[in-house]
């Protein structure tokens, strides 16, 4: 606050505050909620704007005049095939049921990650903190590697696999059509405070697959009497219905909404409590049990229910999470005019089974620094499982594979990259 009171920093501070509060890009000249800057809610979070001076050009829109003159939806496909005079966008994308991915999520969806190298004195070097500024600008989230909207190869270990990348591989016309509307601490209680940054025009844009994935904060809080502060099934129902009504007013017809259940966070204690935290590796003196107790003591524990020594409390927290997941499952049977709905689990147990098949250990599925969030590996495997489940049970949601994918790559290469 004291730095921002300096007159010459006042405006930039206000801009940054607006970006953080409303989850919109900092640099966005044409105010279309898409940016050509990666961080500060830019294209790490939603598809890169290929013209930031024209608000009719942005990822996810239906092509304008088949993009004969320029690439109005930034998917890298534009112009006319000189051989037959047919616009490429019409030739390759018309009738292919192309669509985008929009994530409404918490820190797990946004991929909260604090590199453990920052706390590991033994391996610390000049390279260790090179990503610190970017991490600060992205609110300690790494959506560019996440399981929902990730599009870059992971530089923080593991690999990137995401719903967006799968959908793009299925239909190259979906290139750059992703949005991560997510927030650290996001839950059903506060989502209406930032959902308005969702950029989708009902009449102008392509349909979208919206994934509602608030996997923990409705049962996780820092309060000592944590149970009393958890979301009740009724409140969850009311809040999610508000979200769905809002989405119904914003999403183009033919969209889909995937409601994802809450995690069972007992996994955290079960697999971490007696392991050493990165800070305790050198002298074998700090376990996650100690970390959780310390965080609870200073009232900074993000999840007093699950990150607790008290087994009864951990079980009660899971019980509430199951109740809330059941509410979401029930809501998913409702009908809306703009979209259909389906429900998927966030099953850390299923992810652990997959990881076990690859020779991994369960603790590797949890962020080492905070001992709370899903790791890169967990998110990648989670994306694979969700994709497979949707493909198997509701293939219409994903659309058919585009038979012109190879032609698109042949003509447009990497489609301008991300």
């Amino acid at each position: 606050p004291s730095i921002c009171s300096l007159p010459f920093l006042d405006k930039i501070c206000q801009k940054i505050k607006h970006t953080i509060d409303y989850k919109v890009p900092l640099k966005d000249f044409d105010q279309d909620n898409f940016s050509d800057l990666s961080y500060f809610r830019g294209y790490d979070w939603r598809g890169k704007d290929c013209n930031d001076l024209n608000d009719t050009v942005y990822p996810g829109r239906s092509p304008r005049n088949w993009d004969i003159q320029h690439d109005s939806n930034c998917n890298g496909i534009w112009g006319i095939d000189p051989e037959d005079g047919i616009p490429y966008e019409k030739k390759f994308c018309e009738g292919t049921d192309s669509k985008g991915v929009i994530l409404l999520a918490d820190s797990a969806g946004a991929h909260f990650h604090i590199p453990p190298e920052w706390l590991t004195a033994e391996t610390m070097s000049l390279k260790t903190f090179s990503n610190l500024p970017l991490t600060i600008f992205n609110e300690f989230d790494w959506p560019q590697f996440s399981g929902y909207t990730g599009f870059l190869n992971s530089t923080i270990g593991g690999w990137t696999e995401s719903i967006y990348l799968h959908l793009r591989d299925r239909n190259r016309c979906n290139h750059r059509d992703y949005q991560s509307i997510s927030k650290n601490g996001g839950s059903s209680k506060n989502i209406m405070g930032f959902i308005e940054s969702l950029a989708r025009k009902k009449k102008l844009d392509k349909p979208a697959i919206v994934i509602y994935s608030m996997v923990g904060n409705d049962v996780c809080n820092e309060y000592t009497d944590t149970l009393a502060h958890m979301t009740s099934p009724k409140d969850l129902h009311d809040d999610v219905m508000k979200v769905l009504k809002y989405l119904n007013s914003r999403l183009p017809d033919g969209s889909h909404v995937i409601l994802q259940g809450l995690a069972d966070g007992r996994f955290l204690w079960d697999h971490l409590h007696n392991r050493y935290h990165p800070l305790g590796q050198l002298n074998k003196d700090i376990t996650y049990e100690q970390l959780y107790t310390f965080l609870s003591c200073i009232q900074f524990n993000p999840c007093n229910g699950w990150m607790s020594l008290n087994e009864t409390l951990r079980n009660l927290t899971s019980q509430r999470a199951f109740q809330l997941s059941s509410v979401l499952e029930e809501i998913a049977t409702l009908k809306f005019s703009s979209f259909d709905m389906l429900y998927v689990n966030f099953s850390i147990a299923a992810i652990a089974d997959e990881w076990h098949k690859l020779g991994g250990k369960p603790w590797q599925l949890i962020e080492p620094t905070d001992g709370f969030h899903p790791s890169q590996n967990a998110l990648a495997l989670g994306a694979k499982l969700v994709w497979q489940e949707v493909l198997q049970k509701w293939p219409h949601v994903l659309g058919k594979p585009n038979p012109f994918n190879k032609d698109i790559v042949r003509v447009f290469g990497d489609q301008g990259g991300h």
Binding site: M124, T128, L132, I136, L279, I286, Q290, I298
Partner: protein, 122 residues
Amino acid sequence: LPSAVTCTGCVLLVSVIEQLAQVHNSTVQKAMERLCSYLPEHLYLKMICQGAAEFFGPDLIKLFTSKANADVVCHALNLCRKQPGLPYCHLYPPPKEGLEMSIKKAQRIVKSSVLLRKLTAF
């Protein structure tokens, strides 16, 4: 929340400095310089680190010399606060002589500290 962030940040940073000194078999002063040298110039991170090292350095050196761990250092510098009626919060196992005793001893060491007076006033 701000006090929890301050306390967590202090314990983490002091731990890293302590471990850097241990790994490189160097003084605390050198460990702080080393940590700052690893930080990028962007956002004045290196400059802020050097400023903080200059500000906290003398007290940290005194406290480390007396074998205080990160919990004790942060309580002694008032960056972690004990809530009335509740025990001291700690990340590390308590020292042999007890956490309260160690913190009181550490507080005596930095009693005359200019830094501490400024922090308390703040």
